[in-house]
């Protein structure tokens, strides 16, 4: 088909449908505005909370160092060695237990797709306690809000954009065929395929423009720095997936239109397909997964940790003896001075040993469920798109996984730093504070590792493109058999 003819058709269609399209684009724009507003609001609360937490931690650390400094000055005056400590200021066990803060910053594109952000912790206070029992600063949201999910741009693009697309495209030809104007149109030198394609392309072009402009306005308006290559890469990925997803819905509309049913029937079919893709398939999958691979029970987990603590507490003296047997390097040190600290360290260690198998089992079950989901998400294009969005925005469960791993690694470093000092009963000196391990968040690449991440993002794109090709080619083929005049 000559491109000029396609453009002529599109211009013609635009003249006829201008009002309807402007209404739809206006509504979509309003949804973008609301989604962007909510994203920015939630993000502002989160960043403000984290800034307050960081400031509080700095103040605490400042006070701690000041106390240590004053104790050291006193020790120097009294001629006592600085490796000794007083009541609490430089006690290695107490400093270790006051901990180190590990903040989980919001994802790079959380403004656009909040994903699981509202369920993730703000920070964890790392100490010698087992990772699963560390105190975490959780966010507070109304549970009903958590249940319903956020009205963010991700919701607008995954759930509402298809509605706008279907609303514009459910009746490309049916009414014109019913009232006879289709015959008149086809008396011109164009084929039905060209006509249908022209009509769909006009709609797709207008919505594409609206999406790009809307995303740009929200992103730039809310201060997303698209000059940073990493942010831009994610942003373009999100736009690409959105356009493929949207094109898939247009291709579906084109195909349903080719079946030549009355407009109301076509609308019904499209509404049912929307319901199946967005709700029935994901919800059924959720149901099946929760029945076949249930999330590990938190009740049992709580019980196991409580029992482990109790067991260790009840048998602390025997356990301490056993601990000394297992760690002969400890018994040579000054046990009388360090005994309390060592006992605490031993308890934490032993609780950790008790909990570790339960945690491992819990995580294995979780990983199994996630692996199954990873493979089954492609049963619904909407689910695959949302998963890709979360990954690109850095707001999915992968972020929490990466955070947990980072917290574990940091805790190991923390523990390794303090254990010899607790063992040798050495004070934490002021000069040590700059050497304490510091938690640094490593932003995982949007594609993740090659086996899971890149594969699934690339696969999502290929999968959506295949849907477009399949539905589009079937639709164009079906127009060859379209009866323009009812027999």
């Amino acid at each position: 088909m000559p491109i000029s003819l396609l453009f002529t058709l599109m211009r013609h269609e635009w003249r006829i449908l201008r009002k309807e399209i402007i209404l739809v684009v206006g509504l979509l724009g309003f949804c973008f505005f609301l989604g962007g507003l909510n994203g920015a609001y939630q993000l502002q609360i989160l960043t403000q909370s984290q800034a307050e937490l960081a400031q509080k931690e700095q103040q605490r650390l400042g006070k701690e160092i000041a106390k240590a400094r004053s104790e050291e000055a006193q020790f120097k005056q009294e001629g006592m060695p600085l490796t000794r400590y007083g009541k609490s200021a430089r006690n290695p066990f107490k400093v270790a237990q006051k901990g180190s803060q590990a903040l989980l910053p919001p994802g790079p594109l959380a403004l656009l797709v909040l994903g699981q952000t509202d369920l993730q912790p703000l920070s964890t206070q790392i100490s010698l306690t087992h990772v699963e029992n560390l105190p975490r600063q959780e966010q507070l949201h109304h549970p009903l809000g958590l249940f319903l999910g956020q009205f963010d741009l991700g919701f607008v693009l995954v759930w509402l954009l298809p509605l706008f697309i279907l609303g514009l495209s459910f009746d490309i030809l049916a009414t014109e065929q019913e009232n006879g104007s289709l015959r008149m149109l086809l008396s011109m030198p164009i084929s039905l395929q060209q006509l249908a394609l022209g009509k769909i392309c006009m709609r797709a072009l207008v919505l594409t423009k609206a999406i790009v402009i809307g995303l740009l306005l929200v992103s730039l308006g809310q201060g997303l720095d698209l000059r940073q290559p990493e942010i831009l890469e994610r942003w373009l990925g999100l736009l690409g997936i959105t356009l493929l997803y949207g094109t898939g819905w247009f291709a579906l509309a084109l195909w349903v239109n080719s079946r030549k049913r009355p407009a109301a029937t076509q609308a019904t079919i499209l509404a049912l397909i929307w319901l199946a893709v967005l709700f029935v398939v994901p919800a059924s999958l959720n149901l099946a997964l929760s029945a076949l691979y249930p999330l590990p029970s938190r009740v049992e987990f709580t019980q196991a940790t409580a029992k482990a603590s109790e067991k260790v507490r009840n048998a602390s003296s025997q356990l301490l003896g056993k601990y000394f047997e297992d760690h002969p390097e400890l018994s040579s040190s000054k046990r009388d001075e360090a005994e309390f600290n060592l006992l605490q360290l031993a308890k934490e260690d032993l609780i950790g040993q008790e909990i570790t198998p339960v945690v491992a089992q819990f995580r294995a079950q979780l990983a199994k469920q996630r692996q199954v989901l990873q493979n089954l998400q492609f049963l619904s294009p909407a689910l695959a798109t949302q998963a890709a969005f979360n990954r690109l925005a850095g707001t999915g469960h992968e972020r929490l996984e990466a955070y947990r791993n980072g917290v574990e690694a940091h805790q190991k470093a923390w523990r390794d730093w303090f254990t010899p000092r607790i063992r040798d009963n050495l004070a934490v000196q002021v000069s040590d504070y700059v050497r304490l391990p510091v938690y640094r968040w490593q932003e995982p690449a949007p594609s993740g590792d090659k086996l899971t991440g890149q594969y699934s993002l690339g696969l999502t794109a290929v999968y959506l493109a295949l849907i477009v090709l399949l539905l589009g080619s079937r639709a164009l083929k079906a127009y060859q058999n379209y009866q323009i005049v009812d027999s």
Partner: protein, 474 residues
């Protein structure tokens, strides 16, 4: 005569639905989904109930067999309590995954519930949930739209509406006949659901669970039956007023999308913007600020000792028949509990205000009101969680004070902190027992939702004669 005509129309509508293979399929699929979702929900609830029983038993064992210990240390040592689940929650798990499963009760602190199941979830768990409530609130209304949008509009387009009315049939009778016929079709869906639900409750829970769960279950079924009738009623009105079936369908679909998917998220967003609740950092800072203002230990010691000296008419602390240490701890506990309670009440009141805004938006979209009522009846809403947390806090304060009082009563001879108690004291603390509140309490909490549904019924009743009077014939 009139009743006969209405019955004939109703029969025709009923038969028309059942002769249509597509609807037989849709009914079959819906029944299957109800069955599967109900079974999965029931099995989850059963699992949770057995875990709950086991966990509560083990917690009790841990508490009772903790060995010799100072009673105040025992209070610090604390205990976990778990929230029981109603079998009716099998129909609507509501907010269960977002509320946490246990509360840790200890001295000086009112902890928030921990371990929300949703935290462990992936994109799927939040994307879409299938349970009997979502089938009843999302999918059945769509089916009702498909049943009703053409009820008048299609007859108008095919010309049969003019024929019917030319026979002298009043539009109101035509409407009533259609309403009855289509309602009967819906009853076919509701009755198996009711029988299955009641049967399961009886078989799985026994007579006791049946007695407590059946009123909630029947109310839940009644609520959804009313909701379906309202949808049907509205669908018929739109069909009567719209000239074409296409327009009627588009309007009804737009309403359904908004009611089921857009409204609830948007509603909660508006509610949280209108009533800003404190963030966790703000809440913690406020609690810490108030806690730092609480009387210091020396002043409290002087205050309590002075009160005791006066109460017992002695001049020296050593002459007191009680050990003041325990009573000082008890006095401090009251202040600590108050500090937490004030701020948590503040948070919960903000959340309650957010919820009220959300509930009021049911005036525009009744689905939101029904969703609230459904979770309320299933016992899986936030109000129930708050009720549970309040009971747990009352229990916490009681057992902690019992421990503190024991220190004061028993330890005259020895240092208060070296004194230890044993199994006898731990056993004297009764196990935590929590019952779901009565159905009347649920109605009281959800009064706004009920009024909204009554308002929708009234509105439709008022609009019906107007819509039928102005019904276009061609």
């Amino acid at each position: 005569m009139q009743a006969d005509i209405i019955a004939i129309i109703a029969q025709k509508e009923f038969k028309q639905v059942w002769l249509d293979g597509r609807f037989r399929w849709i009914f079959g699929i819906l029944l299957l989904l109800f069955g599967l979702a109900g079974w999965a929900g029931f099995s989850q609830q059963q699992d949770y109930r057995s875990q709950f029983e086991h966990a509560m038993h083990e917690q009790r064992e841990l508490w009772v067999n903790k060995g010799e210990m100072n009673p105040h240390s025992a209070a610090h040592h604390g205990m976990h309590v778990f929230k029981p689940a109603s079998l009716v929650a099998a129909l609507d798990q509501g907010l269960q995954s977002y509320l946490g499963v246990s509360l840790f009760l200890e001295a000086h602190k009112q902890n928030q519930s921990r371990y929300r199941q949703a935290e462990d979830g992936t994109v799927l768990q939040r994307f879409a949930v299938m349970n009997a409530a979502t089938v009843a609130e999302v999918m059945v209304p769509l089916m009702i739209i498909l049943l009703s949008f053409g009820a008048f509009a299609s007859e108008r387009e095919s010309g049969t509406l003019r024929q019917l009315l030319s026979l002298g049939l009043p539009p109101s009778q035509l409407w009533l006949g259609k309403m009855l016929g289509l309602s009967a079709s819906l009853a076919v869906l509701l009755l198996p659901l009711a029988l299955l639900g009641l049967g399961t409750l009886w078989l799985a829970g026994g007579a006791e669970a049946f007695a407590s769960g059946a009123p909630r279950l029947l109310s839940w079924l009644g609520l959804h039956a009313l909701y379906w009738l309202l949808f049907l009623w509205g669908g018929l009105l739109i069909s009567a007023r719209c000239r074409t079936a296409r327009l009627a369908l588009l309007l009804l679909l737009a309403f359904w999308f908004s009611n089921s998917f857009i409204g609830p998220r948007l509603g909660m967003m508006v509610a949280s913007l209108l009533h800003k609740a404190p963030t966790s950092v703000e809440l913690q800072a406020a609690i810490e600020a108030d806690a730092s203002q609480v009387m210091d230990w020396d002043t409290r010691t002087q205050k309590v000792e002075a009160r005791l000296l006066k109460q017992y008419g002695v001049k020296k602390v050593q002459d007191l028949p009680v050990n003041p240490a325990g009573l000082i701890l008890a006095d401090a506990e009251i202040d600590d509990a108050r500090v937490y309670q004030v701020h948590l009440d503040h948070l919960q009141n903000d959340w309650q205000n957010q919820w009220r805004v959300f509930a009021k938006l049911g005036l525009l979209l009744p689905g939101m009101a029904v969703q609230n009522l459904s979770m309320g009846l299933a016992g899986s809403d936030w109000q129930h969680h708050r009720h549970f947390a309040a009971a747990a806090e009352a229990y916490r304060l009681d057992f902690v004070q019992r421990m503190n009082t024991d220190v004061s009563r028993k330890t005259q001879a020895v240092d208060a902190y070296e004194y230890t108690a044993g199994k006898e004291l731990w056993e004297a603390v009764k196990p935590f027992h929590y019952d779901l509140p009565a159905l009347a309490w649920v109605w009281q909490q959800q009064l706004s939702g009920l009024l909204i549904l009554a308002g929708w019924t009234l509105l439709l009743a008022l609009l019906t004669p107007l819509a039928l009077k102005r019904m276009p014939v061609d």
